[in-house]
């Protein structure tokens, strides 16, 4: 008996075969085995892959047909303006109405994002763990599950503990969710597809996003629960700490771009080196990659997602700062969490991956918003993937990692960016 055979006989547990849903005996487990079955031999697997390919090509076709959204909207705008003027509506009132319509559309972005992202997270989690996830509500793959959940939360009783500070307890979710919606104002979703093209967009995003920390501390303090208080204090320490490397990671990009306007930063990355490598900031040697990785890690920490979910670590703090929240208040916390995930992905797409610029020259037939969406969703998938890949940090390691590693690295990266600029010019 050879060594390999000895090992094989020692592993006597049968394992679950994902391809055909049967138990796999030890001798069948290793590929090339006559009994090993490729998943492609299964009709269900093939039809699922065909469905995904169909959805993807349909989306590409739809994006190609729709084209650039600002170009489509321009005739609509002038038509509406003509009508308004012919009925004697004052021009400023017309502009105000148009702004309100745009604001309502932008408000829908974090809401729809939460509905989609929660469902997507549950599906991704399920498939990573060989489960199916939600399958019933909405017929197709449980796609309306989040709508049902939202409705359920809306109809739930609001339980406020007697020991809570009632007013602050009520205000906390509002203080968290308003900045979480407001940060989307200067963020581009494609070329010229932007609500308010602020010249200080980057500073605005970091400043407004920082207000949410206060709401989390309020929630933790006002609940009158020790788990909530600890969760609130921990998240205060964590969010505040990780905000520093996150801000410093963007500084090299601003140094290279020379502007704080997010859509201008995205627009500067148009074009290709040698006709093939896109001029994205992530491809700037060393500086771009280090900045991206620091920004990604700090963003995961800022959004309280898994390797850094100390503020709401279920196994130690029940649910952290939102232990005592139920019903619509809890829904608002959830909404803002996913709004920040989307914001981080949009910012990363704009700062490091060229925003709406296609990755290869011949792919320019798709509109910029489609590329922006594709990059954002890819980054968002990484956020969901991390959750099932990394174990949670311990709270002291978490702070050490930030203050003794990420912060010095991001400071050194600013120096490296200075060197790079000196070399270029």
């Amino acid at each position: 008996m050879t060594t390999e055979e000895t090992i094989l006989t020692k592993i006597s547990e049968p394992v679950f075969n994902h391809a055909n849903g049967r138990l796999l005996m030890p001798e069948e487990r290793y590929w090339p085995s006559r009994k090993w079955k490729s998943p492609w031999s299964l009709p269900a697997y093939r039809s699922g892959a065909a469905l995904l390919a169909g959805i993807l090509s349909g989306a590409v076709l739809a994006a190609w047909l729709i084209g650039e959204i600002p170009l489509r909207l321009a005739p609509l705008y002038s038509l509406a303006e003509q009508y308004a003027l012919s009925y004697g509506v004052p021009l400023f009132l017309f502009h105000l109405a148009w702004t309100v319509i745009k604001a309502a559309l932008l408000l829908a972005v974090p809401l729809v994002n939460a509905l989609f992202a929660v469902w997507w997270e549950r599906k991704v989690s399920a498939h990573i763990q060989s489960r199916l996830g939600p399958m019933y509500v909405g017929r197709f793959q449980g796609c309306l599950q989040t709508v049902a959940d939202g409705l359920k939360l809306f109809l739930k009783e609001d339980i406020v503990p007697d020991c809570a500070d009632k007013l602050v307890h009520l205000l906390a979710p509002v203080v968290v969710v308003i900045p979480a919606i407001l940060v989307f104002a200067p963020v581009p979703f494609g070329r010229e597809l932007i609500y308010a093209d602020l010249d200080i967009g980057t500073v605005y995003v970091f400043a407004v996003g920082g207000v949410s920390v206060m709401g989390i501390i309020m929630a933790g303090w006002a609940s009158g629960n020790k788990f909530s208080l600890l969760g609130g204090l921990r998240s205060a320490a964590q969010l505040v700490s990780y905000e520093l490397p996150r801000t410093f990671a963007v500084i090299p990009i601003i140094m290279l771009a020379g502007t704080l306007n997010i859509s201008a930063i995205a627009g500067l990355q148009a074009g290709y080196w040698g006709g093939i490598l896109p001029r994205w900031f992530i491809f700037y040697p060393v500086v771009g990659q280090v900045a991206f990785i620091v920004f990604l890690i700090a963003s995961v920490a800022e959004t309280n997602r898994v390797p850094f979910d100390i503020p709401e670590a279920e196994s130690e703090l029940v649910a952290g700062f939102n232990t005592e929240y139920s019903g619509m208040k809890f829904a608002l916390f959830f909404l803002s969490e996913f709004a920040y995930v989307l914001l981080s992905c949009l910012l990363m797409a704009a700062f490091f991956f060229g925003g709406g610029e296609p990755p290869l020259p011949f792919l320019g037939f798709l509109p910029s918003w489609a590329w922006f969406l594709a990059k954002t969703l890819t980054l968002m998938f990484c956020f969901l993937w991390f959750r099932w890949t990394f174990p949670r940090f311990r709270v002291d390691r978490l702070m050490d990692f930030n203050w003794k590693f990420l912060l010095p690295v991001s400071l050194l990266n600013i120096a490296a960016a200075g060197l790079l600029i000196w070399l270029i010019s």
Binding site: L170, A236, P252, M255, D396
Partner: protein, 116 residues
């Protein structure tokens, strides 16, 4: 002009947050009892209140954060113009960052970053 649009957006966001809570207020059931309204402590009766003392370590992190966040605010305008000013701006910011990095090193050495 663009800041006016942000005011409009703020009004809409506040309307959404307030409106959703208010709408839920009218439709939700109210079946309350004193046991339900106790603070959650895994089924045990809560011992003491949350108004006790908290560890100072959160405070030192907050202090360090304030210093570095103000620094970040100085870095933004510098980063915008650094390419037009050139080497002089780089040297000046290197001195400024060096002082702050020395401060971080000092805080590290004195154990302010130690989580006990």
């Amino acid at each position: 002009m663009s800041y006016g649009t942000i005011l409009v957006f703020f009004a809409l966001a506040a309307l959404f947050a307030g409106g959703s809570l208010l709408a839920a207020f009218f439709v939700r059931p109210r079946v309350s009892d004193p046991l339900k309204r106790t603070a959650y402590e895994c089924g045990m009766e809560a011992v003491g209140t949350t108004t006790g003392q908290t560890n100072i370590r959160f405070y030192t992190y907050a202090l360090l954060f304030v210093i570095f966040d103000v620094e970040a605010l100085y870095l933004f305008p510098w980063a915008v113009v650094v390419r037009t000013i050139g080497a002089a701006a780089l040297v000046e910011m290197a001195i400024f960052l060096g002082i702050l990095a020395a401060g971080l090193a000092y805080a590290w050495k004195m154990g302010a970053l130690q989580w006990e």
